[in-house]
């Protein structure tokens, strides 16, 4: 675990944000000192409920929104460095491409905006349309496309400049299950090619399936970030199930229970030696062990727990305020 942390610190970072803040007019504090480190060649998932500040953060990285304060680097250059954007691919949420262009023209146009020369962008546009499964529809106008087709074309446009860093905001929004699977494959292929993928998504299952690391943002702050294993480390439990009743001494080790004639005990263990000792003692008492499984929180469970924790904190603060100053007089 520690070794992993050291590795990630030493790895060249695609994104290294330090203390990014954004205050909108009306004193809305959208980001409150966000720091984030995304190693190269990984798929990084950014999670958070609506209004957490995810899109603002993504837009600051792509210079669409100006940060109130920001330091750090994107692909080794300071945040906001314009020439670096030529090596970044971006698919915004709810994007609207020019309806009068064909899919191919649209992809080529964004290639030109990313400084690609004519022959290169024509070649890459054809390749990318092929990759996202839009080759057969490439010469039809974007205005005639379904939502899913527009999303695929957007993905092709984000990839046309052979980007080192791809930032995708809800890439599977409006795409059918088959399309989602295909897009997932594209993202995995990008990782194999050494690209960094920064994925902003609401779909926790999807993120859990493909992301190497995640960050969870709540109310303008990063609550947790790291590998999924790191994040769920605290929740790791062992569950040992036996046939029949559990010996009484087991209750001192962890929580016990019964389910369809089988008893089980669940306990937290940082190393497997403790587990071995339990198994040895149970075997010594002729208990018939039918299962030993490692239990962890899913990403969704972790996410929901954090949301509840933060909401609890907020409402506790809110409640104390009410108690102090807003109690309705009798």
């Amino acid at each position: 675990m520690v070794a992993n942390a050291v590795d990630s610190t030493r790895a060249p970072l695609a994104i290294d944000l330090v203390d990014v803040t954004k205050m909108y007019a009306g004193r809305v504090h959208a980001l409150q000192g966000v720091s984030m480190r995304v190693p190269r060649g990984e798929i990084f998932g950014l999670l958070g409920p609506n209004g957490a500040g995810k899109s603002t953060l993504v837009k600051i990285m792509t210079t669409i929104v100006r940060a109130t304060t920001a330091s750090g680097t994107i692909l080794g250059a300071p945040v906001g460095n314009r020439p670096t954007l030529a090596r970044v691919g971006y698919l915004p949420e709810h994007h609207r491409f020019p309806q009068y262009l064909t899919g191919r023209q649209c992809v080529e146009f964004f290639g030109a905006m990313s400084l690609m020369r004519r022959t290169d962008r024509k070649r890459r546009a054809s390749e990318m349309l092929e990759v996202v499964g839009m080759a057969a529809w490439g010469d039809r106008r974007v205005g005639t496309y379904s939502k899913g087709m527009q999303q695929r074309t957007g993905l092709a446009a984000a990839l046309v400049n052979d980007p080192e860093l791809v930032i995708l905001d809800e890439p599977t929004d409006g795409v059918d299950p088959v399309g989602r699977h295909e897009i997932r494959d594209v993202l995995l292929r990008m990782r194999e090619e050494g690209r960094t993928v920064f994925l902003n998504s609401h779909l926790l299952g999807e993120v859990e399936l493909i992301c190497d690391r995640v960050a969870i943002m709540l109310k303008g702050r990063v609550e947790r970030q790291g590998c999924l294993a790191e994040l769920t480390q605290d929740s790791r439990r062992w569950r040992v199930s036996i046939e029949g009743a559990m010996p009484s001494w087991v209750a001192g080790i962890g929580a016990t229970g019964e389910d369809r004639g089988r008893a089980h005990v669940e306990f937290k263990a940082d190393d497997v030696d403790e587990l071995q000792r339990l198994i040895d003692r149970l075997r010594a008492e002729n208990a018939r062990i039918v299962g030993v499984t490692e239990q962890r929180e899913s990403l969704e469970e972790l996410f929901m727990r954090l949301v509840r924790d933060v909401d609890g904190r907020t409402s506790a603060v809110g409640a104390s305020n009410v108690n102090a100053s807003m109690r309705i007089p009798r």
Binding site: G76, P83, A86, Y90, F110, A112, L115
Partner: protein
């Protein structure tokens, strides 16, 4: 750590799009891309093709007119208008006059400009809403993006007027027998004319994100500057007429032999002087306002003047001298006639005053206004979060 960063930097530099700064050829690639996209947008708009068809129709109407030694005809049907023969309009002057008055003075200066404003109305609202995310995430500065978008908006007028100029050139050559290259001056002048209005439309469209609002505000502003122009012309006439009145009275007084006769002119002279002071004050106000506003009428007048010079239309012999004068001005001139100010004298004085206004004043101060409006738009665009 440093080693890792260095290796990252080396791998960054291997990418074909690695840049520490953008070069001129990078700018060219993006600018060309934006212009091609703008052309495709125009191509997809019905209004663009409608305007082109109307262009052809206007020039077709000119070409439908025939004139020879025997008389004038339209689409081959002879019109019984005595005296109107090719002797009266030598060297294709009939075609030049129609193209100048109908083609430039009416079609290009009014209808085509309104069509261009309508056709480009959604350009900046679209930029401020749907497409801006993807555009700003590319290595293009906001100022350059705004100005390039603005330049692509002028493409509509440039293409329309270019087609008009080519057709007019062919009609002049084939029907009038005069191959007049000077007609192509209409292209840059009309683009400049349109750019004054489009600057305002672009900024209003960017701020309000509404194509309709941007068109309405621009048309209202166009009417406003036209009214300021009309007011300036009217007060200039008043000021010039009262000055001529004073000169006329003084000349008359000098010609009289007796003091008694001269004293009879003292009251009208005093009255004319007071009127002149008032007219000058009023004209000064209008002139100041006009100086800081775009001068659409005068710029269109420059087109007509340039066309007239190039095509030898509107010489002193036709009695109007300068081409930009309309019925309203003629009526106003009649209003200021008196026993000391003849219409001919007033017309000559007005022409002298108008022709003394240099081209740089007409175009330069209008450009000044345009630059201020665009600077405000750029300031807004650069500051905004999308």
């Amino acid at each position: 750590m440093n080693q890792a960063r260095n290796s990252a930097r080396v791998s960054d530099q291997l990418h074909s799009l690695y840049r520490t700064h953008l070069t001129l050829s990078d700018y060219a690639v993006q600018t060309w891309g934006l212009f091609v996209s703008a052309y495709r947008e125009l191509n997809a708009r019905k209004l663009f093709w409608v305007a082109l068809a109307l262009n052809a129709l206007v020039i077709g109407a000119v070409a439908a007119v025939g004139i020879d030694e025997t008389g004038i005809s339209i689409l081959g049907y002879d019109l019984d208008i005595p005296g109107v023969t090719s002797k009266m309009f030598p060297d294709g002057q009939l075609y030049k006059t129609i193209i100048s008055a109908l083609g430039v003075g009416f079609w290009l200066s009014w209808l085509s400009t309104i069509l261009a404003l309508l056709s480009t109305a959604s350009m900046f609202p679209d930029l401020a809403t749907g497409g801006v995310d993807t555009m700003l995430s590319k290595p293009i500065g906001r100022t350059r993006l705004f100005l390039t978008k603005f330049a692509t908006g002028l493409l509509f007028t440039a293409l329309q007027v270019a087609v008009f100029a080519v057709l007019a050139y062919l009609v002049l050559g084939i029907r009038g027998g005069v191959w007049e290259v000077g007609i192509f001056v209409v292209v840059p002048l009309m683009v400049v004319f349109f750019s004054y209005l489009f600057a305002l439309q672009a900024v209003v469209g960017m701020v309000t994100k509404s194509p309709i609002a941007s068109v309405i505000v621009t048309l209202l502003f166009w009417i406003f500057i036209f009214l300021v122009h009309a007011g300036e012309q009217f007060t200039l006439l008043g000021s010039t007429a009262s000055r001529l009145e004073i000169e006329g009275i003084e000349a008359k007084a000098a010609s009289l032999q007796t003091d008694e006769a001269r004293s009879g002119l003292a009251t009208p002279l005093e009255s004319a002087k007071r009127a002149n002071e008032n007219w000058q004050l009023a004209h000064g106000i209008f002139y100041s306002a006009k100086t800081v506003l775009p001068k659409t009428t005068e710029t269109a007048g420059l087109v007509t003047r340039a066309l007239a010079v190039a095509a030898n239309i509107g010489s002193e012999s036709d009695g109007e001298g300068g081409g930009g004068e309309d019925e309203n001005t003629r009526r106003q001139r009649g209003f200021f006639r008196s026993q000391f100010v003849s219409e001919r004298k007033l017309r000559a004085a007005m022409n002298e005053e108008m022709s003394s206004r240099p081209v740089w004043w007409v175009v330069g101060t209008s450009f000044g206004f345009e630059c201020v409006v665009l600077a405000a738009g750029i300031w807004y665009f650069r500051r905004r979060d999308f």
